[in-house]
Assembly symmetry: C2
Homo-oligomer: 398 residues x 2
């Protein structure tokens, strides 16, 4: 073709055809066809009155999902890591003390962000695979009067541990600090009550239990958090992440729809998708979604244990939507996951950081949280680990 001749790069690149996968890793999770169809609608302008209406509806749906009346509730136009960084760097100024609970990769990431923003970071470390140690946090608060923020990860995606967000938020307030909650993997998968628990800042991501494609970070900030941002004496280190600028764009902070200020160009089609995924969630009902994650998790846990897998996290601290198990003796990490993907189309996650090569992470998030998904992954795991599911199950149930 003459077109191909004009541009040599086409000789080696053709249309991309996405393989069919069953997404049971730490995210992204399977996306509902309705969400994919919503995203494929023609792009409209990011200041179009119809798009502004969509943004307003997304705020409404996100408030219902976070269980909050917070005015400043919206979706940041970037992945969850930006939601994390935006939340951290807006709430601290150089020299401010922030207590960060570290029980996995993502707490550690917050530390790096806060340090870059000039904060004094006090780390409260809990062993990987365990919920955050409340006594350690209280001791840190006592030892560091004037602490401005207590930050924690409700659902540690790197380990599968669920921490007590309600108690951590209460502790922060008891000592005059704001609470900052990572809800990337928790939102819609386990109970999260932003207002009832008094959480001041919370961020999530779309590709976990909301089952939209990755790329957006839903966030919500209390009026206390907004006051903190407005009272800053120093500018936030990042222009893109300065909430004082972003809130004018999303029509918060007293701005009416008519007075929205251009900040950046929102990812229009991604927001079409998020809107639809939130509709699907609320058609089921948020509490029904929590219950489904708990129920299907039980089914998976029984099956995994029957196959001889051992959980990393003790019972009672486990996330239903992220199941970390030790890789059995004699199975190679990469080869095992490769067989799951290539022979069964099933994606699960490897370990991160200290858990690399030792742990597999099996996700049951949003649309990927169903009995069929459990059957699929158990059968695939049985096959690659040379165990028979039927025999084992029979032994257990006799």
């Amino acid at each position: 073709m003459s077109a191909a001749a004009r541009s040599g790069v086409l000789a080696s690149v053709g249309a991309f055809s996405a393989p069919k996968r069953v997404l049971m890793g730490p995210g992204p999770s399977d996306v509902h066809p309705r969400v994919l169809a919503a995203m494929a609608q023609n792009t409209i302008g990011h200041l179009d009155p119809e798009f502004v209406r969509l943004m307003d509806e997304i705020k409404l749906l996100l408030r219902a999902t976070f269980r909050t009346e917070n005015d400043l509730t919206f979706a940041i136009s970037a992945p969850g890591s930006i939601g994390m960084e935006t939340s951290v760097i807006n709430l601290v100024e150089p020299g401010d003390t922030i207590i960060i609970c570290v029980n996995g990769v993502f707490g550690g990431r917050m530390v790096s962000m806060a340090e870059r923003a000039g904060a004094k970071v006090v780390k409260v470390a809990t062993p990987w695979g365990r919920a955050v140690d409340l006594e350690g946090v209280e001791a840190a608060l006592k030892a560091n009067p004037g602490t401005r923020v207590v930050a924690f990860v409700q659902a540690e995606t790197s380990t599968g541990a669920l921490s007590d967000a309600k108690a951590l938020s209460a502790l922060a307030h008891q000592y005059g600090a704001l609470s900052l909650c990572d809800a990337v993997t928790s939102l819609a998968g386990v109970p999260l009550e932003v207002d009832a628990w008094g959480i001041d800042a919370v961020y999530s991501a779309t590709q976990k239990c909301l089952s939209a494609p990755p790329g957006l970070s839903p966030v919500s900030y209390s009026s206390r958090a907004v006051e903190r941002v407005k009272a800053r004496k120093t500018p936030v280190v990042s222009w893109f992440q300065d909430l004082a600028l972003v809130m004018s764009y999303w029509g918060s902070g007293g701005n009416s729809t008519a007075r929205r200020t251009y900040h950046h160009t929102a990812p229009v089609n991604a927001l079409f998708g998020l809107h639809e995924s939130l509709l699907i969630l609320h058609e089921e009902g948020l509490e029904a979604s929590w219950a489904r994650h708990a129920r299907v998790h039980k089914q998976l846990a029984d099956g995994l244990e029957a196959l001889g897998f051992r959980y990393v996290v003790p019972e009672g601290e486990r996330l239903p939507q992220l199941n970390s198990v030790w890789i059995p003796e004699g199975i190679d990490d990469a080869a095992g996951r490769g067989r799951l993907l290539n022979e069964f189309g099933v994606e699960i996650g490897g370990g991160l950081g200290d858990f690399a090569g030792k742990v597999w992470r099996i996700g049951l998030m949003g649309q990927s949280c169903s009995e069929q998904h459990v059957e699929r992954v158990l059968n695939a795991l049985a096959a690659i680990s040379g165990r028979s599911r039927v025999a084992t199950a029979t032994l257990e149930t006799v």
Copy 2:
């Protein structure tokens, strides 16, 4: 329905149906149905081998688009503003001198970013609507020995002025500085030769002449820029935007495909779309795309002048893909644009900053750059400004 009863928010929110628009503002531009279909493919994992292959192909396609062999060429997982901020804050450390050319909103935005990162900013201001003043830049370089970076906007989206990126990059090098080029609106619309012109850092966005939805920022960095990043004595202020971390994820900086390191979750479906939009561009051919933008612009300019519109930017400094005209006497900005949108489905842009209420911006970008688009917008403008195109055209051509 029981579902609706379970969740009160659904009473006021239903499925979103995007209205059909003709996008002729400053971006987003019309997106080809092939790109929308590519984005609607099922989501796959961001570490899936097939996705890694897609990322490699995107790097190849972007290199051909930027006209560079730069290893570190990829798409940042966020809008163009993050591409700008990432480029600025990685190349300066606190106390470093950066010269920033300001001839519109976007140069001014870079100033704010560089100041937040602790740089010493020297502004070279040129009146809005004009190309950057080369003599002013040389004078600033002479007055500020040791300047580390010269930053400029090749295509000022707020005014429609095209600056001489080749000459500006050469000036920077002559005085030992790196060159940093904003190519948000220029890429694929006007010639840009990253290697031949020696541009050290360049960023763009997907929703302009690439005609993909907004949300990604293609970037490319020379080996000189990468060395600068590696030699930093202080950490970049933002974790998300730290190129040293991001480059391991995109497999640059000596990393083979097999050793990619998880950094964040890439917006998988958005990258499906970008890949397809780049294929469409290279099927036409990059130079053919530049020629089309020039040709269709001429047609629009003739039509606008025949209707009595006056251009903001003098001939010879005009961007073909972004046409700024003064709003005629007697036409209200918001009401006029509202009529274009509601009666003709045509979106054009209002003025930003100093130009708010005074200027209209008419885009001819990517898929929105066609003779049919020109006809559509000229007919709509004639109707709302009470002028007859035929009569005016006749007068002009007699």
